[in-house]
Structures are given as structure tokens and as C-alpha cells.
Amino acid sequence: MFKYLLGFILLFLTCAIYSHLVWAEDNITAGEIINTMTQTMNPEQSEAKMKMTIMTTSGEERSFLYHTYSKGRGKKTLMKYLEPSRVKGQTILMLNDGDDIWIYFPKRNHVRKLASHARRQKLEGSDFSYEDMGGSNTFVEKYESVLLEDEKKEGHQCYKLKLTRKPESDAGYSRIIVWVDKKTFVPIVIDYYHDKDPELREKQLICTDIELIDGIYTPMKFTMYNKLDDTKTTMEIIEINYNVDLPDALFTEEGMKQ
């Protein structure tokens, strides 16, 4: 009798825990998913060496190697080009989620501040704009998010979210569809829609090769497809370190010149 009672209690507890998990999963909001994804993709601090490869319209490949430093969950970002020699030493500083951008030109020892409209410009001819590179909190602050039906994408069970630009926002895309991996909260696919035409898909970002590094799920490769120009740009993480203590001075004019 006791055995049956124990079995019943265990069954009840299992069902309760399972039903709680299901309830929790079903009740996760679009905002919570976007917040968790943003936190996953923007750890407190990071230092990485990355390679960017551009496939141009003519089918040529161009490669760039750079160091990137990030602090405050992506609120401050500094990128320093290492290769090719054409841009060697050129440094980009983005503060306030990419709202303030400075570029340092070492050959002239000159720092130039860019206005926010320059965020639309391509980064060294790539399919990433300054806006794509900075703006860690852009999805949260500049878009309204709605949770759609779950979907399997690139082999991952995903939450599917529709992000619509807030009326007062100056974001560069009218809407965004993002598929977020349910296990890692890494965005697997992001579709960016044209600024003027919400039906026209302009770019698609695919994140692959997810690895657990220092307890943080990290996509080691990002591929941005430009659907209008038929070009693509890949960014690969060569080295990454999350256990760093980056000084605030790095994210200043002083840091750009070092």
C-alpha cells in the first residue's frame, strides 16, 4: 500500500513539475525572450579576435582581421583593425548602444565623430552596417516584439518573434523576424526587412557553430546575406575571452589611439 502511495506521490510530483515547466515555457513572453537573447549575445565584458570576409557582387572575397572589445553588455564597443594594411590601426568606438560613433585614422592621427545617420553606412563595404555592429539593446528599445508560433530553424527548436519598429524609433529596419533557439537563447536566424517596404526582406543573418565558452553560449560564425545585392559577409570568432576586466579608458579617445 505504501509502495502504491509513494508511486502516486512521485507521479503527482513529476506531473506537477512537468506541468509547471510547460506552463512556464508557454507563458514566456516575447519581451522576456528578447531580453534573454540580448543578455546572452551581450555578456558583461568580452575581448575577441575576429575575421570578417566579404563576398562582393563580383564574387571576389575580401578579408579583414580585427580586435573587438565590449563592455557594459555591448553599450561600449571598440573595434581595431589588424589587417589588411589598407585599414590597419583604424579604430571604431561606439558608445551608448551605437548612438555615438567615432573613427580614428592613424595615418592622420585624427579622430572623427560620425552622426547617427552614418550608422546606415556599410562597414568597409560589408553587409553589416554600423547599426548592425553596435546597438546591443536595439531590439529591446527600438522595436515592439510579438511571439509567433514556434518553428524549427536550421535544426534548432526556436521561438519565432516578430519585431516591429516603434513609431518614434530611428531604427534602420521596418520590421525584423527572429528565430531564437529555445535551449541556448542564441538567435539562429534574423530576417531584416526594408526600411520603407515591410514586405521586402533586405538581409538575413544566420548564426552557427554555437559553443559553450566560459558558461556563455556563443555562435562562432555569423553570416549576413544581403538579399537585394546578392552578397554575403561572414564574421568568425577566432579567439574570445569573457573573463576580462577592461578599463573604461579603453573606450575613449585615449583607448582609440593606443
Binding site: 589588411p84 594594411s85 555615438d100 592622420r108 565623430k113 547617427s116
Partner: protein, 397 residues
């Protein structure tokens, strides 16, 4: 092209490498990089076609071993070809050129000799919030694109405004007390004389989306009388400020100075304001307005000194008010087409500069630019300057 391949050029290049290689060996962490830049230009001057150009080799050295102590240097070799002998009077209005006494004519001739020189050579010492830089170094001030009233050290070519500037011998201290505030002190030695040497102070402050600077520079300004080729120096104190930021979604900037001269009748002021915008299709446009009080507003009054001081860079403009414009559009991911113009509001003359920039191959930039002067004889941008085309390839290594 013959000069480019001449034996002397090759020998001198070998000497440069022989000098550099032991350095690279001694300091394992010394990086060597640079570029080779051939440029060809064709001019239509006085109905004659002239061609000129150069091959430029720049070799940079930079140590990367110690983050607190860094040295950098670059060596430039320039080899000219085509027309090397110039007579400045060819570019001046006939009325002025004809007034030069015969015995003074040789002074207006110049010859471009092949040259090799150390462009920059400096040591930079860094500790947190402080940097000291000693030696020949790049110095640039101001937020303007086509011209910089606050920059008294460089002569900017408004038709090629982003081209690198020569290094200057200086001692520079930079202090960064808190983020977005910097203090710069600069000393530019002239001979052995502390009095004649330049002293500059600058404070830069970040306020919201704006960067604002205040600058003061005391130096000795040289003025040449080109009728006699006698130079005179006079103490000048420049007080100025600049800003850059954003207004209604557009980039805005400006800089202005007031120059206090020993002879207060020669005091002057100069300012520039500008703005830019990138449209969502990638089309970029920029305008700047530049006022220079020491320049003249009636072109009938431009005399030999005005022209020569403008050509030699003693003054920044010959006409008092100028409007600059730049448009650019990326036609492919690696090619940009655009055009610049400089409009002299004072004398209603203009120069147009359509251009194409292309990153033709990895590490090769190609620039094709034309200069078309539309202005009557005697005006700032008159046809005496010669319509021209320029092709420049920069090969980085």
C-alpha cells in the same frame, strides 16, 4: 615611366631596406608595412597638354611589443616623372604675371627633385590617463572636412582634403582625466628659441552627442612679400573653438578662430560651419561654409601677394567666402562615385571635381578625379589653373 624604373631608384630602395631590415631583426615585434602609390596627372594649361606624376613609396615601422612605450616611423621616397619644371606665373592672371620685373622671374620657377625623407619618427609613452609623444608626428586639429581654421600647422588641399599631412617636430602631452574629456599641450620647437617656438593648449569635452573643444596657439607667423621675396615674422595668438555633433538627424560641425597679431590692425577671424547627411539609399551629401576675414571679397583687388600667399599656403583662401560641397554614392560594394565643388561666393567662380574611388583588389585603392575650373580670368578658380585629370593607385603592403 622611365624614371620609375631607373637604376638610382632601385639602388635607393635597396639602401632603405638595408637600413630597415636590421631594425626589424633587432626588434622582433617591429611591424613593417606601408604603401606604394603611383600617380599620373594630365593638365590642360594654356591650351597645352602637360603630364606629370610621381611614384611614392612609404614604409612604416611600428613596435608592438610594449604597450606603454611605442615608437613609430615612416620613410617616404618620392620619384617624379613627366613635367618637373614649373613656373608659378603660368597659373596667375596674365595682368599680374606680366607685371613682374624681368629680374624677378627666376624666383617663380620651381623644380620637383626626387626626394627621400623621414616623414614621422616618434616615441609615445602611455600610462593610464596620460600620454607623452616626442618627435616628428602627425598633428591635426579641427572638425572641418575641406578646411580647418583651428589647424595652423597643416596646409590642406581642399581638392584632396583627406590626403595625409606631413609630420611636425613636436612634444605633445595628452591628459585624459575622465572619459570624454582630454587636455592637450603641444610644443613645436623652432630653432633654439623658446620665444619663437609654438605653444598650444586644447581642452576637449564631450557633452551629450556633441564634442566641443577650445584651443589657443601662440606662434610666429611668416608673411612673405612676393614682390621682393623678403619674409617677415610676427607673433600671432590664435584663440578658437570647434564642435561636432548632431542636430535633427544631421551631422553638424564648426570651428572658428580669432587671430591676435602683434600689429592689431592685422587681427583677423575665420570660421567654418558644415553639415552632412546619409540618405537611406546610401547617398551621402555634405556642405561647408568658410569665411576668412583676411581674404578679399572683390577679385579685382587680388594682387600678387594674395595669389602667392594662397598658392604657397601662407593663407588658407584667396576669396573671403567659400562654399564647399561633397556628394558620394556607393554604386557597388567596392566602388563609390561622387563629386566635390568649391564655390567662391565672393567672386562667383567654382571648381568641380567629379571622382570615382574603387577598392579594385585587396589592398589596392584606385582614385580617378577631374578638376574643372569655371571662372573668369582673375577669379579664385579661373581657367589658368588648368583643367586636369588625376589617376592614383595606392598599393598597400
Amino acid at each position: 615611366m622611365k624614371n620609375l624604373c631607373s637604376k638610382n631608384w632601385i639602388i635607393e630602395l635597396i639602401i632603405i631596406w638595408l637600413l630597415l631590415l636590421p631594425l626589424a631583426g633587432l626588434y622582433g615585434q617591429v611591424e613593417i608595412y606601408g604603401y606604394f602609390e603611383p600617380q599620373y596627372a594630365g593638365y590642360l594649361l594654356n591650351r597645352n597638354y602637360n603630364q606629370t606624376g610621381y611614384g611614392k613609396l612609404r614604409i612604416d615601422l611600428k613596435n608592438t611589443e610594449n604597450k606603454n612605450v611605442r615608437f613609430g616611423a615612416d620613410l617616404i621616397y618620392l620619384n617624379y616623372f613627366g613635367l618637373r619644371h614649373w613656373n608659378i606665373l603660368d597659373f596667375l592672371p596674365d595682368e599680374i604675371a606680366d607685371s613682374i620685373p624681368a629680374e624677378m622671374l627666376p624666383y617663380y620657377e620651381s623644380y620637383f627633385n626626387d626626394t627621400i625623407y623621414l616623414d614621422n619618427a616618434y616615441v609615445r609613452l602611455n600610462v593610464p590617463k596620460f600620454a607623452l609623444m616626442i618627435g616628428k608626428q602627425q598633428i591635426s586639429f579641427g572638425t572641418g572636412y575641406f578646411a580647418n581654421p583651428t589647424d595652423q600647422l597643416n596646409i590642406k588641399d581642399a581638392l584632396d582634403p583627406t590626403y595625409e599631412q606631413p609630420g611636425h617636430n613636436a612634444l605633445r602631452i595628452e591628459i585624459y582625466p575622465v572619459p570624454r574629456i582630454s587636455i592637450t599641450a603641444l610644443y613645436t620647437p623652432i630653432n633654439a628659441d623658446w620665444q619663437q617656438s609654438g605653444k598650444l593648449g586644447r581642452v576637449k569635452l564631450g557633452l551629450g552627442h556633441f564634442d566641443i573643444s577650445a584651443i589657443a596657439y601662440r606662434f610666429w607667423h611668416t608673411t612673405t612679400d612676393f614682390y621682393t621675396f623678403q619674409s617677415a615674422t610676427e607673433e600671432q595668438t590664435m584663440l578658437g573653438a570647434d564642435f561636432v555633433g548632431e542636430l535633427l538627424g544631421c551631422g553638424v560641425w564648426g570651428e572658428g578662430v580669432y587671430n591676435v597679431m602683434t600689429d592689431e590692425r592685422e587681427n583677423s577671424y575665420e570660421y567654418l560651419v558644415g553639415g552632412d547627411y546619409t540618405f537611406k539609399n546610401g547617398f551621402y551629401t555634405m556642405f561647408e561654409y568658410h569665411h576668412n576675414s583676411i581674404a578679399k571679397d572683390d577679385y579685382h583687388n587680388y594682387d600678387l601677394n594674395d595669389w602667392m600667399r594662397y598658392i604657397t599656403g601662407e593663407v588658407k583662401t584667396i576669396s573671403r567666402d567659400q562654399l564647399y560641397g561633397l556628394t558620394q554614392y556607393p554604386i557597388t560594394d567596392l566602388t563609390t562615385v561622387g563629386s566635390m565643388f568649391i564655390f567662391s561666393i565672393s567672386d562667383q567662380s567654382v571648381v568641380l571635381a567629379p571622382m570615382i574611388n574603387s577598392s579594385l583588389f585587396e589592398n589596392i585603392d584606385l582614385t580617378l578625379m577631374f578638376n574643372i575650373f569655371i571662372g573668369a580670368e582673375g577669379k579664385a578658380f579661373n581657367h589658368n589653373f588648368g583643367n586636369s585629370g588625376l589617376l592614383r593607385a595606392t598599393v598597400y603592403f
